[in-house]
């Protein structure tokens, strides 16, 4: 336990009342005078070229107010996602839009438009595209790699023999596109007493945020007002402005509440810009309501993996070498990077003495991919856990012990560059989880229980880098004594927009009731804040709030010195007053100091501000200057090394050998995210992440028809998003709660590892229940378990993905 006033304490986030009384407004809940409704015509083919659009049938249709085609919006270079396209690369790719006075008319109009599309070859499984003579998902090629050195298309094909050998579990010999390594890999395997070598598959699946990405826009005095569903707030502006072709100060983003993002709404996406273009063309507000089906199409999905891994272990369980080859299914828009992140996660979580990563990002004509909660780290977490179990069994080690032996700690160096970590306490997380779960006792229980059920125990570890730096903090103390906390953090459901501002309240020692948070609209004078992704918000934004508050306190003390005489250092604050340390009668209230700041002007009132803050912050400071004492600063606090968000999980399942179904009997998740900032929020992330892990482990996957490229599961139930009945009604969580030295409050992030540890614990438990059999796949569905138990063939070829 710490002695903070606000950090580590629960509070009621102000927006929660709107969520429980129905008043919280999401993008689709807004209306504007004269608003019309847009509907999209989306591609019915997986890959093609639009050769003709005939809209004559709706030329005089009553209620139709306009048509927007790819010619009306900036063209986008393949493979990047376009607002509208004449070169559709997946079923559901938006081709044109119609606006009408109501949605039904717009839909009727779409049905009357004739669009001719010349079809092109398409691929739903990366291995089909990689096969010599196989289809390319894009006319420019079948591989697209992005790197600092340069990005571009490639055409890479493997021979039939190479594909077959890969399917058979042998080391891939075909060409790859990216590679990194460290240490002496050959020596690492030479030193190994045990070598494990296996192929694996993780199938992609849709984000399926509850709120479809509806957007509405209108123009006023040259500024575009966009009501969107955004994961981040300030971070969206540069991208949104770019999409709309305007300067950043000509866009206002209103995103008060966002119905989930999970990586799919980090930055501005094309559908959010469509109403802006349409509104400009029509001269009236336009709302584009996105349906659930369309959200499946354009709402993005997790990158799938088809890979091969080889691990070497010394007699004592230490990992001596790791070699991983990952074919990434990067969809049609080449959105990925998951493969290298997966390699990085192996490097960090298991610290092999030598390691190599090879990657091959292959394009497919499936739903566009995007970052999804622990992109790469969580796929590989699921694959690694049963392999660690296998190694433990072969080396006669306890499964907990082998993880502790290889656990990331303060001395671990990671990734290709062998960078340090800011701090890491995985061993402590594992032990805390083992104690809470009662691992030692549960291990003694028999595996066979009431036939046909068997028990399985699993341990999982999750990781994602969980911090960022260099963003701005902004606060204002008003002459009425109220503390205004400006948060450019998106409101995606983590409450970090609010919890991180408590860092400023902590520094100011003020009461929470005296604080007012400003967020949700970019015209509310918000600072440049971090993206709400990569589990960075807690680390990054407690730092920005800290530096802004420190700046404010410094100014308060200087003002007190001006008023009462003496030096700034002679004064201290107590939450309501700035007082002389030795002469308490020399005291001014925060309100009086704020009034004085207005009178003194300059840096005190925000009339002068630091040059190094972002333009977005500068504009906000200019707007609030002269209305109180302004604390504003860029986060330039020291930061060196990888900032790890870590989690460990323990799970017990009962698996029915007659149905292939399993029930989760107990689940314990332990967060290792430095100091706990918001206990309830952390608990929510750990438990929500566990549900995501349970979905990935056993339920969720893409299914595409290989003949036509049609997606077969576009709804919630077909995608199999976990329901109440798919997960236990009680899950247990706790935290290590040891401070990280590179955050003023010791905090790091957690959202993504919260899921990774869960999916890993489950794949570990399923393997344990089946006497160590490893499917090497996610999800492990009931039919797969049943086929294995009964000795039947699986319904898919080895390494087959996206179609079954």
């Amino acid at each position: 336990m710490n002695n903070y006033k606000h950090i580590g304490k629960n509070f009621i986030p102000p927006d929660i009342y709107g969520k429980v009384n129905g008043k919280a407004k999401y993008a689709e809940d807004f209306r504007a005078d004269g608003m019309v409704f847009a509907r999209m015509y989306t591609s019915p083919v997986a890959h093609g070229r639009v050769t003709d659009i005939d809209t004559s049938a709706i030329d005089n249709m009553e209620g139709v107010v306009g048509i927007l085609t790819a010619d009306d919006v900036p063209s986008t270079e393949a493979p990047n996602a376009a607002i509208l396209t004449n070169n559709p690369a997946f079923i559901g790719d938006p081709i044109l839009a119609v606006a009408a006075t109501d949605e039904r008319i717009a839909e009727d109009a779409l049905n009357k438009i004739k669009v001719k599309i010349e079809t092109l070859p398409f691929a739903v499984d990366p291995l089909d595209s990689l096969m010599e003579g196989g289809p390319d998902a894009r006319e420019e090629g079948n591989v697209f790699s992005r790197s600092r050195e340069g990005s571009g298309f490639k055409k890479i094909k493997w021979t039939k023999k190479q594909i077959e050998e890969f399917r058979a579990g042998k080391e891939p010999t075909g060409e790859h596109a990216t590679e990194w390594n460290y240490g002496n890999l050959e020596q690492g395997f030479k030193d190994a007493a045990l070598i494990i070598e296996e192929p694996f598959v993780t199938t992609g699946y849709a984000h399926m945020s509850m709120e479809p990405r509806t957007a509405m826009a209108y123009w006023q005095n040259g500024t575009c007002y966009v009501y969107g569903s955004a994961q981040s707030q300030s971070f969206w502006l540069p991208g949104l402005a770019r999409l709309l072709g305007v300067e950043q100060d000509k866009v206002v983003l209103i995103s008060e509440n966002t119905g989930g993002g999970f990586g799919s709404k980090i930055g501005a996406y094309p559908a959010a810009a469509l109403p802006g273009y349409f509104s400009k063309k029509l001269g009236r507000p336009v709302q584009l309501r996105i349906t659930r089906e369309q959200e499946f199409y354009i709402g993005s999905a997790r990158v799938g993996f088809q890979g091969w891994i080889k691990l070497g272990f010394a007699e004592d369980g230490r990992m001596t070498a790791g070699d991983v080859f990952i074919i990434e299914d990067i969809g049609p828009n080449a959105t990925g990077g998951d493969g290298s992140s997966a390699g990085g996660a192996i490097s960090l979580l298991y610290d092999p003495e030598a390691m190599r990563f090879r990657g091959l990002p292959v394009l497919t004509n499936t739903t566009p991919r995007g970052a999804q909660r622990g992109p790469g780290q969580n796929q590989i977490a699921a694959i690694m856990a049963p392999l660690m179990d296998k190694a433990a069994k072969a080396l006669d080690l306890d499964r907990l012990e082998i993880r502790k032996i290889n656990a990331v700690n303060n001395e671990t160096t990671v990734y290709a560059e062998q960078r340090p970590v800011t701090s890491a306490y995985m061993k402590e997380a594992l032990q805390k989880g083992a104690d809470l779960f009662d691992w030692d006792t549960k291990q003694q229980f028999p595996q066979k229980i009431n036939a046909p059920k068997v028990r399985g125990l699993g341990i999982g570890q999750g990781y994602h880098s969980a911090g960022a730096k260099g963003f701005d903090g902004l606060i204002r103390i008003a002459p009425d004594g109220k503390i205004h906390l400006y948060s450019g953090v998106g409101n995606l459901g983590t409450y970090s927009y609010a919890s991180t501002t408590r860092a400023a309240a902590e520094v100011l020692k003020c009461e929470w009731d005296d604080c007012i948070i400003h967020n949700g609209r970019s015209d509310k004078n918000l600072p440049w804040s971090s993206y709400q992704a990569g589990s960075v918000s807690t680390y990054a934004q407690t730092r920005t709030n800290y530096v802004a508050a420190v700046d404010a306190v410094d100014k308060m003390k200087n003002i007190a010195a001006k008023i009462h005489g003496g030096k700034a250092d002679d004064f201290d604050i107590d939450g309501r007053h700035v007082h002389h340390k030795t002469t308490p009668s020399k005291s001014s209230t925060y309100a009086e100091i704020a009034q004085a700041a207005i009178e003194f002007g300059g840096t005190f009132s925000g009339a002068i501000y630091p040059e190094d803050i972002h333009d977005i912050t500068k504009r906000s400071v200019q707007n609030i200057a002269g209305t109180g004492l302004v604390g504003v600063a860029k986060d330039k606090l020291p930061q060196n090394g990888v900032i790890p968000g870590l989690a460990a999980a323990f799970v017990e399942i009962e698996l029915d050998l007659e149905t292939g179904k399993y029930e989760i009997m107990d689940y314990v998740g332990i967060a290792e995210c430095g100091t706990v900032v918001h206990p309830q929020g952390l608990d929510a992330q750990m438990k929500g992440g566990a549900v995501w892990g349970m979905g990935m482990a056993g339920l969720e996957r893409h299914v595409f028809d290989p003949q036509n490229g049609l997606p077969a599961n576009i709804g919630y139930h077909q995608c199999k998003v976990p329901s109440y009945l798919d997960v236990p009604s009680v899950t247990r969580t706790d935290a290590v709660d040891l401070p990280d030295p590179q955050n003023p409050f010791g905090a790091r992030g957690i959202g993504e590892p919260a899921m990774g540890c869960a999916v890993a614990a489950l794949t570990s438990a399923i393997s344990d229940a089946l006497d160590g059999y490893n499917f090497g796949r996610t999800p492990v569905s009931s039919d797969m378990i049943l086929n294995y138990v009964t000795g039947n063939n699986q319904s898919f070829k080895p390494l087959q993905t996206n179609n079954f």
Binding site: I16, N21, Y26, D102, S209, P212, D683, G688, V730
Partner: protein, 195 residues
Amino acid sequence: MNVNLTRRRFIKAVIASSAVASQTGCQLGSKDLHAKGSVERLISLDINGKKRRVDVLPQETLASTLRYKLGLTGTKIGCNRGECGACTVLIDGIPNYACSTLSHSVRKRQVQSIEGVANKDGTLHPIQEAFVEELSPQCGFCTPGQIMSAVALLNENPKPSREEARQALSGNICRCGAYDHYLNGVMRASGQSNE
């Protein structure tokens, strides 16, 4: 002056003007109120204890009417195909998916939406209070639906077991995975410990 008559006149005037109509709803449809063989379109609905006169298309769902005609946007449309439960409302006290309920079918029924859950003085219903205390919502998009299912449960069964609550809310998907916290909220609202 007859207030209802005035409202009816007003609504008719709205329907006669597609430009104005477009500001109020996304599915207003044809101007013809008396097409041959069609059902009456100007109907009365009992929403949150108030009589609301509204122009409703024959194929219009209750979720559309609530959101786009009556401005009750607390009822969310997550899937519009009866899968997610974000649009759950109570019809005569029974939870129903408003996206899969025709507005015409509830003419003689009592409809309660999230806007009608809090007390008249604005104080929160015990479920709402408990959801705040337990930090049950994450993104909040499914929350109104979760609350409606929970309210219906507690009306019927004031002291449900956790398993009963789980079953009762199982028609409401939460992509954030806040199930545990929602169940904690239900147990707290029913005066039962979460320990």
